[in-house]
């Protein structure tokens, strides 16, 4: 089981992704913002619930949760076929985090995630080292949040090495907070 912190913001954001569900009881309050208590969804209706809601209600059998389209069989085949060319940001911005949460329930997902990540992260590291050129732009725009953070870390490491080579590493700097 992936270790997740209660306070982790990324975990909270990833848990908000919707999954399709079939309700077994009438539920209230599921409408979009503004309609409030006026919306009541009845039994055997299909509705997309956020994952944090769907998972727990599924345990209690108040809904039947189904696998999100992000990780459907067809999607998994697509991921295995060409991992590097997929625009993850268009599919799901918190792809990896969400997959980790779903992976507790659906056993094939960790494997899918792992192969995707292993292939894509190499390209991320390469892009960080070469600097941005035109071909990499599409790839960079299609990264999900986890990969984007990795890219930024790699770039920071690169510039730190460059600084050190120019003996600028030990310069005291003005605090970045002050200049904002």
């Amino acid at each position: 089981m992936a270790k997740r912190s209660y306070y982790d913001i990324d975990d909270i954001l990833a848990g908000q992704e919707r999954v399709p569900c079939v309700l077994r009881v009438d539920l209230d309050g599921l409408g979009s913002a503004g309609s409030g208590a006026a919306s009541k969804v009845h039994r055997d209706a299909r509705w997309a619930l956020p994952y944090w809601m769907a998972d727990r209600l599924n345990e209690e059998d108040y809904v039947d949760m189904e696998v999100s389209p992000v990780f459907s069989k067809r999607a998994n085949r697509m991921y295995a076929a060409s991992p590097e060319s997929i625009q993850l940001r268009a599919i799901c911005q918190h792809f990896y985090q969400f997959g980790l949460q779903l992976g507790d329930v659906v056993p094939e997902i960790p494997h899918v995630l792992r192969s995707m990540y292993m292939q894509r992260i190499q390209r991320v590291a390469r892009t960080a080292q070469q600097g941005h050129n035109v071909e990499a732009l599409d790839f960079v725009q299609g990264l999900d949040k986890t990969e984007a953070r990795m890219l930024k870390l790699c770039q920071q490491a690169e510039s730190a090495v460059a600084d050190w080579q120019q003996s600028k590493a030990h310069t005291l700097k003005k605090a970045s907070v002050v200049s904002s």
């Binding site: 909270i12 009438d26 005291l172």
Partner: protein, 246 residues
């Protein structure tokens, strides 16, 4: 949708970078706590209605209908799933009870989610405040004005109290560790000092400062060769600029 207000708080917490913090969203926090309190009263109402119908003997499940009590905030799954055992012969009252159970479960989940988002929001902000203080050498007066307007009064108090706590600790411990001289408690821990004396150029006029070697007049545009510990805080806030002459 029920958890959306809290989700907005979580998104704001994500926006916090080492350089920038958005203003404390008092309005949103109030909305979320209001919604949470409302949900709690609804839950109590529904539990009460379940209890009253249970005591009148209208709800007959295969397991005895014990009055549901709200003990602590732990969500006892077994009590609710007891009601689901006989799905084939469902009478209207059982259906209604199922609905109420499901509704209660939903409200309770949202309640926990709201609590988690609120706590994570505040946790993230205090994390930022602590790291801010350490970069500013534990001097609350060095916090830029526009930044302190973005903090709530409680957070400004937090900054002051944190600095005070640290100085109390330092005073209590310093005489035992380092009896002859004072310890530079707030020197930057991540960038180890390389030189004892550093070359600086003055960007903004600071007036005169007292160093170990006497009084130095810091006028804009001049360059000096001074002890690091004396002027480090001035570099941090940008009045002086460190020139690296390697």
């Amino acid at each position: 949708m029920l958890g959306d207000e809290a989700f907005r708080l979580a998104k704001e917490a994500k926006d916090i970078t080492p350089d920038h913090i958005p203003a404390y969203n008092e309005e949103q926090v109030r909305l979320v706590t209001q919604e949470t309190r409302y949900l709690w009263t609804r839950i109590e109402e529904m539990i009460a209605s379940l209890n009253s119908s249970a005591s009148q003997g209208q709800v007959s499940q295969q397991s005895s209908a014990q009055p549901v009590t709200l003990s602590s905030q732990t969500y006892n799954t077994q009590r609710y799933s007891q009601q689901q055992n006989t799905m084939e012969h469902i009478s209207d009252s059982q259906l209604e009870a199922n609905n109420i159970n499901g509704q209660t479960a939903l409200y309770f989940l949202t309640l926990s989610r709201n609590k988690r988002c609120l706590l994570a929001y505040h946790h993230r902000r205090t994390q930022f405040l602590r790291s801010l203080l350490w970069t500013l050498h534990l001097a609350p007066s060095l916090v830029p004005g526009d930044l302190s307007t973005r903090l709530s009064p409680e957070e400004q108090n937090y900054i002051r109290e944190y600095a005070r706590l640290n100085s109390v600790y330092r005073d209590a411990v310093e005489s035992q560790i380092y009896p002859n001289d004072s310890l530079d408690w707030v020197a930057d821990g991540e960038l180890p000092p390389r030189d004892l004396l550093i070359e600086v150029r003055v960007v903004k006029d600071c007036g005169e400062i007292v160093t170990e070697n006497g009084v130095v007049n810091l006028q804009a545009g001049t360059q000096h060769y001074l002890h690091r510990s004396d002027i480090e805080h001035l570099i941090t806030i940008g009045y002086l600029e460190h020139i690296n002459s390697c």
